[in-house]
């Protein structure tokens, strides 16, 4: 939905003639409290999604009397988290080795993060209702269980968790780009650590005291933060590609550089036609997604509810 539109926009913009290129203003770093908050929310949201996915798969193994396979599920889920950390380390290493192509790689990574966000979020949101989850989990796990191999079950668990981890790794890399020019870049790892502690506390509350998380509201709030980040990444990513000379740069004269005291560059808004057009596509895809989701609900006559037992 949004991804093909975004990619099409990027391709079209890349083909713009270089004669229209001009320099855009230098990126402003993210304010430290905002950086901390974004970092905190991303790991909390993605971690909770992973917790839900593993929980749903555990439940299926329990009700189908496959308790003996739980170790495989938990082990491969853990390996997926480690692989996600490894992915982030690899991205960091590649970026540090390719200083000459840094702007190009930053641009590609940021836009990749946006594409993965749209894909993964759509995947999770589309299964936010219990019945869809049941069908999905049953379809994937029953096939793996019938094959009888631990590898089949493990690969299902691994891929389900890794797709969250990949999104997380790309998002942290995207935030790391703006953290580099922030007055306090340490807020990025601090926000991550605080988010991990919050996630562990949340798990304990759920595990020990049976606390019910309002899933729908949690996803709406954290989803809004993720879409805001996708909007800024689109701007920063395209700006980097413009700096690398890959995408054309048509500067708009008299475009405001700040919204009150807030420099627009901190929101990823740059005064070029290309950046603004791509961000308009992102906003359009978001609106289209919301309308389409509501339309499907109305058509199916589904009740507007969060997954049972957690909301």
């Amino acid at each position: 939905m949004g991804v093909p539109l975004l990619l099409a926009t990027v391709v079209v913009l890349a083909l713009l003639p270089s004669s229209v290129r001009a320099k855009a203003p230098v990126a402003e770093g993210t304010a430290p409290p905002v950086l901390f908050f974004n970092s905190f929310i991303v790991i909390l949201r993605e971690g909770f999604e992973a917790m839900l996915i593993v929980g749903a798969m555990s439940a299926y193994l329990l009700v189908t009397e496959n308790q003996g396979r739980l170790r495989t599920l938990y082990l491969w889920s853990t390996l997926a988290i480690l692989a996600s950390l490894g992915t982030w380390v690899v991205v960091q290493t590649v970026l540090s080795l390719r200083e000459d192509d840094r702007a190009l790689l930053e641009g590609i990574t940021s836009l990749l993060a946006v594409a993965v966000l749209f894909y993964v979020s759509y995947w999770v949101v589309s299964k936010i209702q219990a019945e869809k989850w049941r069908r999905f989990i049953k379809g994937r796990l029953s096939g793996a269980l019938q094959r009888g191999s631990s590898l089949a079950l493990g690969s299902v668990a691994f891929l389900a968790v890794y797709r969250e981890g990949l999104e997380t790794a790309l998002f942290y890399q995207g935030m790391a780009f703006s953290a580099a020019s922030s007055p306090a870049p340490v807020m990025l790892p601090l926000g991550f650590l605080a988010g991990v502690v919050a996630l562990a506390s949340l798990f304990l509350l759920i595990f020990k005291f049976g606390v019910k998380v309002p899933v729908k509201h949690f996803f709406i709030f954290t989803g809004a933060v993720l879409y805001y980040l996708a909007f800024t990444f689109t701007g920063h990513g395209l700006h980097e590609l413009q700096e690398a000379g890959v995408v054309g740069e048509t500067t708009l004269a008299n475009f405001p550089s700040a919204l009150g005291p807030l420099p627009l560059a901190t929101l990823g808004v740059y005064p070029t036609v290309e950046v603004l057009a791509a961000q308009a596509v992102i906003l359009g895809a978001l609106v289209f997604g919301l309308v389409a989701t509501l339309a499907v609900r109305v058509e199916l006559g589904e009740p507007r509810e969060a997954p049972r037992g957690n909301g």
């Binding site: 193994l61 009700v63 170790r71 982030w88 380390v89 960091q92 989850w133 759920i206 998380v213 049972r308």
Partner: protein, 48 residues
């Protein structure tokens, strides 16, 4: 266990029953592995 014995999205109950089957030693080993990965990532992040 019957399918209705467990509310599939009651995470607390699901994890309580699930982790009971894997045993504390195994759980500790996997948790240690996870923590090690986390620490190593931070070493890389703050390293030279």
């Amino acid at each position: 266990m019957a399918a209705n014995d467990i509310d599939w999205m009651d995470l607390g109950e699901v994890y309580r029953q699930g982790l009971r089957h894997v045993g504390p030693r195994w759980l500790l080993a996997v948790s240690a592995l996870l923590l090690l990965g986390l620490v190593l990532s931070f070493v890389v992040y703050f390293g030279p």
